[in-house]
């Protein structure tokens, strides 16, 4: 076994494997809940009518594609807030802190599971849920040409436009969705290292309040100081502004992840008020 005090990728993978093994039941249950929730969503969006103009168009994708995105963000945030769930009691903290590995590796191991692993799991869950939707649609609405969501992601049909946006905005949309997804989730990753109990609610309230204050005070103030030029027309399609926003989101995301790791370094077995 690696005994180095420096960062070891092999040990990080071992820590991730250890976490999965020790929490297999909980993780399986959570996976089941994600798949179950998505199947319920898919069933609620079973096809019920054709759109006459486009016979191959699956009209239900109008509703279900944004739902998959939205639910994905919500579940990613809930999952991220459970990242340090086992630190809510002293026994869990002792178990985690006494494991012979650097805190950074312990953090990255969980980050791999809850951030990277969740994305993979969620794609699989969407694949299963949409396959169920298609199977039931073929039984109950045989005349309806339902489109599998992953098939809609290729080509340039009306279905593709509903899932990935119009071609001229597609790259921007995908980049924006990815950046916003990781940014929002990173707040909950940070929140889980600060509050080990009811982390989701606390993070939601605190960061929700900070965001609300920001939009309520800072932007109008900045807008008035800059004589209304803070909102340039169609700013979201201008490359330079897009680049700035994406860079800012990426930096904020990395900052949150780093801060979470640093906060974990400061974790003690007994919470003290200093």
């Amino acid at each position: 076994m690696i005994q180095t005090d420096r960062f070891s990728p092999a040990r990080t993978i071992s820590l991730a494997a250890l976490y999965i093994s020790e929490n297999r039941r909980t993780l399986l249950l959570r996976t089941g809940l994600v798949v179950g929730a998505l199947i319920c969503l898919a069933l609620l969006n079973l096809p019920y009518h054709h759109v006459g103009e486009w016979p191959d168009y699956d009209a239900r994708l109008d509703d279900i594609a944004p739902l998959y995105y939205f639910v994905g963000v919500i579940l990613a945030c809930v999952g991220a807030s459970l990242m340090m769930d086992d630190l809510k009691n002293r026994q869990g903290r002792i178990r985690m802190l006494m494991r012979p590995a650097p805190i950074t590796e312990k953090y990255i191991a969980r980050w791999l599971i809850y951030v990277v692993g969740f994305v993979i799991l969620y794609f699989l869950a969407v694949a299963i849920a949409d396959a169920v939707r298609l199977a039931l649609a073929s039984i109950f609405f045989p005349e309806y040409k339902a489109c599998y969501i992953f098939n809609a992601m290729t080509g340039d049909t009306e279905n593709t436009h509903k899932v990935l946006g119009r071609p001229e905005y597609r790259t921007t949309l995908i980049e924006a969705i990815t950046a916003i997804y990781f940014l929002i989730q990173s707040f909950f990753v940070l929140g889980s290292t600060v509050w080990h109990r009811t982390s989701f609610i606390k993070t939601f309230i605190v960061f929700g309040a900070i965001t609300a204050i920001y939009f309520a005070c800072i932007i109008p103030a900045g807008d008035s100081l800059m004589s209304g030029k803070i909102w340039p027309e169609e700013f979201w399609i201008k490359d330079n502004i897009k680049g700035v926003m994406l860079t800012a989101a990426a930096l904020a995301t990395i900052f949150n992840w780093t801060l979470g790791c640093w906060r974990l370094h400061e974790t003690d077995v007994i919470t003290t008020r200093r």
């Binding site: 076994m1 005994q3 180095t4 005090d5 040990r11 071992s14 494997a17 250890l18 093994s21 020790e22 929490n23 297999r24 039941r25 009691n89 002293r90 026994q91 869990g92 903290r93 002792i94 178990r95 802190l97 006494m98 494991r99 012979p100 590995a101 650097p102 805190i103 400061e266 003690d268 077995v269 007994i270 003290t272 008020r273 200093r274």
Partner: protein
């Protein structure tokens, strides 16, 4: 006087050849800015090798001290060093050589085999043979399901793992709590059989009768002082522990404590070649009630 001179060279050799394994230096710790410190400017050292009993009143900070020693708490001031390295840095090389068995702990609901497979890789000196031997000592089967065990069985299984990791420093907080009567005697056998020259075991407990026979060293503390820090050999050379109802002996005693069928007495030992069996309960009471008198016994040559 003569006896003191006779044992002096032994002490001198002892104190100049020991290597300090764990050194707690001027540590102050409190559970809140406005709360009084649990441990205040506290210093104690544990040389390598031996079984140490860490005794103190409730709230004297014994568990806190173990957590500080393991680097699980951040002191307001002071440091805990393990082989010269600050334990609060929580370096893998330090953590893989220290194992703490807390009073309360949780084990995942998986099989013991799987627990060993995924955890043993973090401890370079883990021995499967030792694990089997430890399980045999506690009469546990190797195919246990950890989630289905009672608290006492979990403790036994966890202690088997702790000892099989072969860490140089083993910290045990109230290890006999939750163990049944045979379990307690097996625990003693278990600790004694696993001792090596370079292994240090620190046991913090109130159940002194469970461990008094296996201790090599006794450390009695309050929150800021070490009241007694002596080997059991030194203690029994200097002090005589007897049970008697004789008023004359009670008059001579350094400390007397009423007990069943008389009093537990601590007297000055005039015959170090014939030591008595240490009564840890009485010694503990003596240290708390009259620490100056106890210190004098060991300072006299």
């Amino acid at each position: 006087m003569f006896c003191g001179l006779k044992i002096m060279p032994t002490f001198a050799v002892y104190y100049f050849t020991i290597t300090l394994m764990l050194e707690i230096k001027n540590i102050t710790f409190s559970y809140g800015r406005r709360r009084p410190p649990v441990v205040s400017d506290f210093s104690v050292s544990f040389p390598a090798g031996g079984v140490y009993g860490l005794l103190g009143r409730n709230g004297a900070g014994k568990s806190t001290l173990l957590y500080l020693a393991a680097g699980l708490l951040t002191p307001q001031s002071g440091h805990a060093y393990y082989n010269g390295v600050d334990t609060r840095r929580r370096l893998p090389s330090t953590l893989s050589d220290i194992f703490i068995v807390p009073e309360e702990f949780s084990l995942p609901a998986i099989s013991l085999g799987e627990y060993l497979r995924i955890n043993s890789r973090f401890y370079p000196r883990f021995s499967h043979d030792d694990m089997r031997r430890n399980l045999d000592t506690f009469e546990l089967e190797p195919d246990l399901q950890l989630g289905a065990l009672s608290m006492g069985q979990k403790k036994k299984a966890f202690m088997c793992f702790a000892l099989a990791c072969n860490t140089s420093l083993l910290l045990l907080d109230e290890p006999t709590n939750g163990l049944d009567i045979p379990g307690k005697s097996r625990f003693r056998k278990f600790i004694v059989s696993s001792m090596t020259d370079d292994r240090t075991v620190i046991i913090s407990t109130h159940q002194v009768r469970d461990i008094d026979r296996i201790l090599d060293h006794v450390v009695i503390t309050d929150s800021s002082h070490v009241l007694l820090d002596r080997s059991t050999a030194e203690i029994t050379e200097r002090l005589r522990f007897i049970n008697s109802d004789s008023p004359a002996l009670a008059g001579e005693a350094l400390f007397a404590q009423p007990s069943v069928g008389g009093s537990a007495l601590i007297l000055h030992n005039d015959d170090p070649d014939n030591p008595t069996e240490m009564n840890l309960e009485s010694l503990f009471e003596y240290a708390l009630k009259n620490p100056e008198s106890l210190t004098r016994q060991f300072n006299e040559l």
